[in-house]
């Protein structure tokens, strides 16, 4: 399929309604399987007991918070350089989803921190840089909402997203560059992951499910963004499937 066709707002809006509908059911079933796997099938950890099961929500949410930011910055860059409308919409619609993933990562991390570290929060490099990521997402949303000319707004938010990219390697390498209470990498040591496969597989499964959730929600949000922009256009007036 031609990429320029997918990038066409009318084509995207009219062809993704059913896809989004079916993906919603699909992702819900995948989540139920993943949650059951993480809570009841994966074995108990010898050191942390059952509290480590929070990892199956915390880690994929944290990964997706970074990944969503990268998508927001890259699509923002494309929108800035090539002025492709759908990229502008994708970029700005990534911000609320990324903020949700970051909130999940922070809150589940706090709930996991209490039984593991004895405290909900410490100002260590990983936690603080992840909190800064949340502020970046909020900053992008507030900035976009405060400017009336939405095409101009996307240019400014894209710039902010690109500048904020510097925070991504800081979050990722913070546990190696500084002494942190947060543990070092467990899964990304591909030569020798320190988690056993019975614990690792449900984690990788949940990472895939979170990605499918991201695609499902971004389709929904992009449709909303297209509608907001094109509701007075002729093709939208004629479209009656919604």
């Amino acid at each position: 399929m031609n990429i320029s066709k997918i990038a066409n707002l009318k084509f995207f809006y009219t062809n993704t309604r059913k896809i989004s509908y079916y993906m919603s059911f699909f992702v819900m079933i995948l989540f139920i399987i993943g949650i059951y796997w993480g809570l009841f099938i994966a074995p108990e950890d010898y050191l942390q007991g059952d509290s480590y099961r929070i990892m199956y929500m915390h880690v994929p949410a944290a990964w997706l918070s970074l990944q969503t930011y990268m998508v927001m910055a890259i699509t923002g860059f494309i929108a800035l350089v090539w002025k492709i409308k759908i990229m502008e919409i994708i970029s700005i619609q990534c911000a609320p989803i990324g903020a949700l993933f970051t909130i999940i990562a922070l809150v589940t991390g706090m709930v996991w921190g209490k039984p593991t570290w004895g405290t909900y929060w410490v100002w260590d490099a990983r936690l603080t840089s992840e909190l800064i990521l949340l502020f970046l997402y909020i900053g992008v949303m507030v900035l976009y909402a405060s400017i009336n000319d939405k095409r101009q707004a996307v240019k400014i938010t894209s710039l902010l997203a690109i500048i904020g990219l510097i925070n991504i390697p800081i979050i990722h390498y913070s546990v190696e560059w500084w002494n942190t209470l947060h543990q070092g990498p467990t899964v990304t040591k591909f030569d020798k992951p320190s988690a056993h496969t019975t614990m690792l597989y449900p984690l990788l499964y949940m990472f895939i499910v979170f990605n499918i959730y991201f695609i499902t929600v971004i389709i929904k949000r992009v449709r909303l963004g297209i509608y907001a922009r094109e509701k007075n256009s002729k093709w939208m007036e004629e479209y009656t499937d919604d």
């Binding site: 007991g49 059952d50 509290s51 915390h58 609320p96 949700l100 809150v107 589940t108 909303l224 907001a228």
Partner: protein, 51 residues
Amino acid sequence: MIEFLSMGKHTAFVYIAYIFSIVVLLLGYYLPHYALKKEIRIKNDKNNKNK
């Protein structure tokens, strides 16, 4: 049943984390879903008034 659901001394922490995540994920899905429906309804009402 309770034994099956038990996570030992960390039961509350595990379930709070999961329930919070599920609620936030559902919000992330339904907010744009209903926002679009609302926008369409407003537009249709407007069109009907004009007719």
